[in-house]
């Protein structure tokens, strides 16, 4: 059992904002003191660049920065040289599309779902336009779940890449990524997974899944902004073209334009990386592992079920993902535009996301192009859920407009 009250003391935001109900964890998460300290320590005690200094502090930072690969390798079960630090999961997915794109040819198919976030659609759309590829969508149910059978139906010889979220960002559908990977590989297709909404909340084992690339963002798992983690099978990373070129990622180059790149993963980290961010992201990963990802997952499931039960009792609320066991509660208040409803909740010091959540073709699955998303984390409580349900029960057009007077 998590000692949530004790854990909450680790988060200065929760201490400084005792009345805030932060249910916008799908957007970003709050930061524990150990993560904040890691960032400030870098600025106050050991500032330097990495991979270029011949002095002690620089060596310390090399050790801390590259050592963070080991922490993430432990978190998702891979080798440290299979972890590249990019700037967010969007950068990871753009790198995936760019790198795999070089290996694709005209007429090849990329398989996606309509529940994907913009960052797992737009890079592929652009690639498809450039290389004349086909984009196809795996059929899902109304709550965006892919069944193994529907994936099997979508798969064919022409598919060279499958790119999907492990957990979808609006509805929290957990996809059967291991089975999908196995089937896709039997056709020789690469599998890319957007782990933005999974890694922070559950134990992820990329070796067990078997996927080729897996990306996630540090800031959604108690880490700082500006750090994306890209896992790739080492043999794939070694043959994949980097999206950015510049300092640190090259071994040597000459005036006749011959360029020798460094080995993966450093070849994907052109220019000065977010050193303090990466070091602090490692602290966040250690912090989560110390609590236990399985414990976090179980607690969040229980809390979500509690919140859902309360919300389902309300006549003015329509839940969009009642059958999903996990992830955010996505809902609308009847007759109230999502942003107006979120405005009312904001007036009660409740932070949620409203709109289409960057998943702008999800409406083709769920039939509405806007919703409110209450996304939880392990530091949220049942008391907060109670206050949330009370506030949600009061959402009406009158009250939503009333906040302006």
């Amino acid at each position: 059992m998590l000692d949530v009250e004790k854990l909450r003391q680790d988060f200065p935001m929760l201490v400084n904002q005792p009345d805030l109900i932060y249910f916008d964890n799908g957007a970003t998460t709050l930061k524990p003191k150990c993560v904040i300290d890691a960032v400030t320590d870098f600025y106050t005690s050991h500032t330097s660049n990495v991979h270029r200094g011949d002095y002690a502090i620089a060596a310390t930072n090399d050790r801390l920065y590259d050592g963070t690969r080991k922490i993430f390798a432990k978190l998702i079960n891979c080798e440290p040289n299979e972890i590249a630090f990019l700037h967010n999961v969007t950068a990871c997915l753009n790198q995936a599309a760019y790198g795999l794109g070089k290996m694709l040819k005209e007429g090849d198919t990329v398989l996606l779902t309509k529940a994907e976030h913009a960052s797992n659609l737009l890079p592929w759309f652009e690639l498809a336009k450039e290389k004349n590829l086909k984009i196809e969508y795996i059929e899902t149910d109304r709550q965006a779940n892919i069944s193994v059978e529907s994936f099997r139906r979508a798969m064919h010889e022409g598919v060279k890449v499958v790119s999907i979220a492990h957990v979808t960002n609006v509805l929290g559908s957990i996809q059967p990524v291991k089975e999908i990977t196995e089937i896709a590989h039997s056709y020789g297709a690469y599998v890319v997974i957007d782990g933005a909404q999974s890694v922070p909340h559950m134990k992820v084992d990329v070796k067990d899944i078997g996927c080729d690339l897996y990306g996630f963002s540090a800031h959604k798992m108690c880490g700082p902004g500006g750090v994306g983690i890209l896992y790739g099978k080492h043999e794939l990373l070694e043959k994949m073209e980097p999206l950015y070129r510049g300092g640190d990622m090259n071994a040597r180059f000459s005036s006749d334009q011959t360029v020798l790149l460094k080995n993966a993963p450093v070849r994907f980290e052109a220019g000065t990386p977010d050193i303090e961010g990466v070091i602090a992201a490692g602290k966040a990963a250690e912090y989560l592992m110390e609590i236990g990802l399985d414990e976090i997952h179980e607690y969040e499931k229980e809390l979500r079920a509690y919140l859902l039960e309360g919300m389902q009792k309300l006549d003015n609320i329509e839940i969009l993902n009642p059958d999903n066991e996990y992830g955010p509660v996505a809902f609308n208040a009847k007759g109230v535009f999502a942003q107006d409803a979120a405005g009312y909740l904001a007036s009660k010091n409740i932070a949620v996301r409203s709109g289409n959540h960057c998943a702008k073709i999800l409406h083709e699955i769920i039939g509405t192009d806007q919703s409110i998303r209450a996304s939880l984390y392990f530091y949220n409580t049942k008391e907060e859920a109670d206050r949330f349900v009370q506030a949600a029960s009061e959402i009406s057009l009158e009250n939503a407009v009333g906040i302006f007077f």
């Binding site: 535009f337 942003q339 192009d369 009158e398 906040i403 007077f405």
Partner: protein, 149 residues
């Protein structure tokens, strides 16, 4: 409506709700002589189209449609009521007053009529875009009509 009533928050709230639920001039026309502006690139959700017919320095007609929140819909609906039939010069004066109000600046409540219902939107910075989306579309069409003439 007497202006004293426009100081009553209850009435202002009712006005916004009414314009949201039953927006005025809320149907687009196929008539090609209308100018048209689609406002969607500035915001994640609000997606509205405003049309107008400006002839001889006068706004003959304004229409709009689209998907938008209460503030966007009601403010645009009020704008259509207010600017329809006005000269371009009068309309520009009203729009200036409205933008000033939304920006927490000085304004003349008498020229804004029902649109004073939006006077507190500046307190919610994230909604300022909502309160100005339709008005910006109209300003754009006026500017273009003036360039042409």
């Amino acid at each position: 409506m007497a202006n004293s009533l426009l100081n009553d928050p209850e009435i202002l709230r009712e006005l916004i709700m009414d314009h949201y639920q039953y927006p005025h001039n809320h149907q687009l026309t196929e008539d090609k002589s209308y100018a048209s502006v689609h406002m969607a690139s500035d915001s994640c959700i609000d997606d509205i189209t405003v049309q107008s017919l400006i002839r001889d320095g006068k706004i003959q007609d304004i229409r709009f449609d689209g998907v938008a929140c209460t503030i966007s819909t009601a403010s645009t609906s009020m704008m259509t009521d207010l600017l329809k039939g006005k000269s371009v010069e009068e309309a520009n004066g009203i729009i200036d007053n409205y933008f000033s109000m939304i920006d927490a600046g000085e304004y003349d409540p008498d020229v804004l009529e029902e649109a004073v219902a939006m006077k507190n939107v500046y307190k919610q910075a994230n909604r300022i875009k909502c309160a100005t989306i339709g008005w910006k579309a109209m300003r754009q069409m006026i500017d273009e009509s003036e360039k042409e003439s």
